[in-house]
Point group: C2
Chain length 591, copies 2
Amino acid sequence: MILDKVNNPQDVKTLSIDEMSQLADEMRNFIVKKVNTVSGHCGPNLGIAEATIALHYVFNSPIDKIVFDVSHQCYPHKFLTGRKEGFINPANYHMYTGYTAPEESEHDFFKVGHTSTSVSLATGLAKARDLKGEKGNVIALIGDGSLSGGEALEGLDNAAVLGSNIIIIVNDNDMSIAPNEGGLYKNLKELRDSNGQAECNFFKSLGFDYLYIGEGNNVEKLIEGFKKVKDIDHPIVVHIVTEKGHGLKAATENKEMFHWIMPNTLDENNEIVVSSGTTGEDWNSITKDYISNKINEDKSVVVVNAATPGVFGFDKNYRAQLGKHYVDVGIAEEHAVAFSSGIAKGGAKPILNIMSSFIQRTYDQLSQDLSLNNSPVTLLIWWGGISGADATHLCTFDMAMMGNIPNLIYLAPTNKEEYLAMLDWSVNQTKYSTAIRVPTCGLNSTGVKDTTNYSNEINKFKMVKSGEKIAIIGLGNFYWLAENVAREIKAKLNIDATLINPRFITGIDKEMLDSLKKNHDVVITLEDGELNGGFGEKVASYLGNSDIKVLNYGANKEFTDRVPLDELYKRYRLTPSQIVEDTVKYLKVGV
Amino acid sequence: MILDKVNNPQDVKTLSIDEMSQLADEMRNFIVKKVNTVSGHCGPNLGIAEATIALHYVFNSPIDKIVFDVSHQCYPHKFLTGRKEGFINPANYHMYTGYTAPEESEHDFFKVGHTSTSVSLATGLAKARDLKGEKGNVIALIGDGSLSGGEALEGLDNAAVLGSNIIIIVNDNDMSIAPNEGGLYKNLKELRDSNGQAECNFFKSLGFDYLYIGEGNNVEKLIEGFKKVKDIDHPIVVHIVTEKGHGLKAATENKEMFHWIMPNTLDENNEIVVSSGTTGEDWNSITKDYISNKINEDKSVVVVNAATPGVFGFDKNYRAQLGKHYVDVGIAEEHAVAFSSGIAKGGAKPILNIMSSFIQRTYDQLSQDLSLNNSPVTLLIWWGGISGADATHLCTFDMAMMGNIPNLIYLAPTNKEEYLAMLDWSVNQTKYSTAIRVPTCGLNSTGVKDTTNYSNEINKFKMVKSGEKIAIIGLGNFYWLAENVAREIKAKLNIDATLINPRFITGIDKEMLDSLKKNHDVVITLEDGELNGGFGEKVASYLGNSDIKVLNYGANKEFTDRVPLDELYKRYRLTPSQIVEDTVKYLKVGV
């Protein structure tokens, strides 16, 4: 096995072309085995194996610096930079993060997991090199899907005038996570179709020099091309055409499905395991059903998302069924928000779906384009909550980020009926910019339709159970935790606690909080997100002048990195027994 | 006067070409008088007069919808849509906002003041039109300076594939606020130089149809061009070349200076009033002096900003003096943050200057590119604080937005020496991503050098005066208010209050807060920004389980629109007498 003799980039330089091609195949085999065992990014890593080898053959990392955009495609790089045991030995599958990580290797420069950042980061490295009078190449490796992100486009515009060495490798595999969207992709196609010769060239229009390498899975051609641009004295774009999923038939034939796969997607022959097909109702399915029905009655309803339809279960069939009522804007979250605001102001009804971690890219659009204009958009925020995710994909911050923007109504449903009622209210009303945090707990149903008119209850909490001494306010995902805490309080302290479902993340019910003062010693707030800047602090602030004690529970202000959820819950004292242990200290009458 | 007979867009349609040219001149005269009296955007409005007239002549607003990017250039539009009295009659100069505002007119569709949003918003309007089966043109009018913003580029990429009518008018005056920066501008120049014929065309590369109008201050040519694109069935870019400051010699010769002018910039002959030249020391000047000196001793220091050098006093001479140690990335705030992170990771020392209102555009870059990577960037946040500004340029939200991002250290100095010490510490240290909120109060000096090593005092508050019963925590800008409140408390209640300068926006000093419990009844927090999600709530949350009362003061969660500052202070109960009136209720022993 060639891999046996490759432990660092220097070893790559000793290989023949044939050995390098074999090395690419070996890495691919291990990658497929690993992601089919523990999940992970599949297609992007299979396609980039040859280019990664060629980069390490031609350039001298870490003197020459390679910045991987979003780093969906850094597994081959990890193989070649001392971390192959994380891929070869199943016992070590969890040893390394799925993204570049400077703490793992001197060959990684940034912790990266959001897209479209590499060009700007690399331009900064190049500027530092120039200021310090140092030498070396700076290389950004960016996938075509990431090009449509505003940060990447800003970066390209500025990198083009750097005036010194920077090499932008555009990995064109004609796919984002889902198929690419946007005018730019037509130009990439023109460039592919003309072998890089088309006169109208997006990169040249920005002032870049340009090199086209059509055979991006051919190590020899790549080395030849990279040698041409090594030590270049000005900015250049190297456009390489690769195949997403290269070397795995199932992946090349199902590019979107194989962007990231779950364990056991493939059988021992690398054929796709046919699923039973009967999946039950979940948050995705009830959302899709609601949307389909709503479009039937109102042709102005339109679903928007930014390049991650799989997160919401918007598969190909569903997208086709929605037709012009479905818009994927590509990786362009800022545009997605402003575009939706425009749709709403034009009198139609947009439902924008976005992952909690990625709504972070749109603070100013949420503030200026949306909320300042009170555009009646419905935002569905998915996956929000404390999780064991990688540090780059945490979904802990959306409530603190969105919750303090004026005018925006951010709702936290606690069960199926409440969610559907909030969704329907939001879509039908025309007064507020509205967001709903789609729950992450299992789909739970009360069986009773929620008939609330939320327009009449803005910032009104729901008193589910009136009790005494202790009031528990369980927000959204953590309403179930509030119920568990109440049970524990009853069992251990024999107190019938008050149980409140606040429903609104973005406001507090002053009247209800005042009413608690007369027969409660302690108010507990529970929120599935960062405590700082979040919901509970608003309750603490409002009750700060009263005798009532307020205990806020939520996540610490920290980036966690693949920490198991139960460990985080313990760290944040989010288990019922810990909460009761704290609470008992503040009861006025001993129990 | 032609203006006498123009009250709405219909009236424009009755005019001859000569009358329209005269109308443009008349509007310009009134605009110059107004902005020279009450301040305002000058150059952008002078240059766009003819194009605005031609738009209203050819199109039928509000059926045809015009979206003004950033709306620096909407004054002529306001003249022609029923609001001329806000410009003609000095008594009405404050009647209308300086930006588009739907509450003023059916011809305005969005409240807009941040750049680069028009294409996305217009694409949304067009999509709504198509969903609803309506007719009409949708037009975005965007300046060339705004094109480099990521949101605009995302919008263009997506507008290009809309498949129906959308007209993007690019107002190319070869200037942003300051001179344009970035590779894109080279292409605009190529297009100008070739009369729109250059093969390599940025807009065509994105898939747009394209029309070039070189004479953008010629009503007849504009009308001819706009007629060609009216009712077009696909996306098109109309590239018009205008002169920023057209018709005012002082403005065309001093484009940057005349982007926005202060009262009395011009004398009665429209000549520039020569200022005395001797301006005293202020926050700008001490920052510039610090930077110049620092660069002399460390060649890796570099100043970055995003297209608003005037805010920081970085005039042409200063920029030239800094040379390669100065980078203006253009309107590209996201890139500015990521670029700075790259510079820091490359071992150089970036100082990024940005206005509070515009740092809003970078939440995810602050989180992912910067803080997650602990890149030792120094961010200087300017103008942060409650103000009487227009709703689109409020600087009230930076602390709530940035203050809850993990790892980021956000500092709030209270005087000159503290500011310079924090700045120097931040630039020299290599461990933290750091931001400093440059004070907005007058430059105040203690006369004593601050020798604090802030690395040893992260999140440690400074006890300025130890007292009893009442503790006042005055953050940054509001430290002076804390001093005033302490004086009022002494005068009215004869209590020596404790006075604390917290210094850190992003953390609390638990030890010091605990120490207050033994002899204080009330803790008052004062912050010059939004209360929700801000600093004081963290104090309230931490002390929520104690007997001490906490009163948080700051701005309400709201967009205010040109509300005078003293009115806002009263509304938020931020006057010393109001604060004492509140506080006295919560003292345990009557006084």
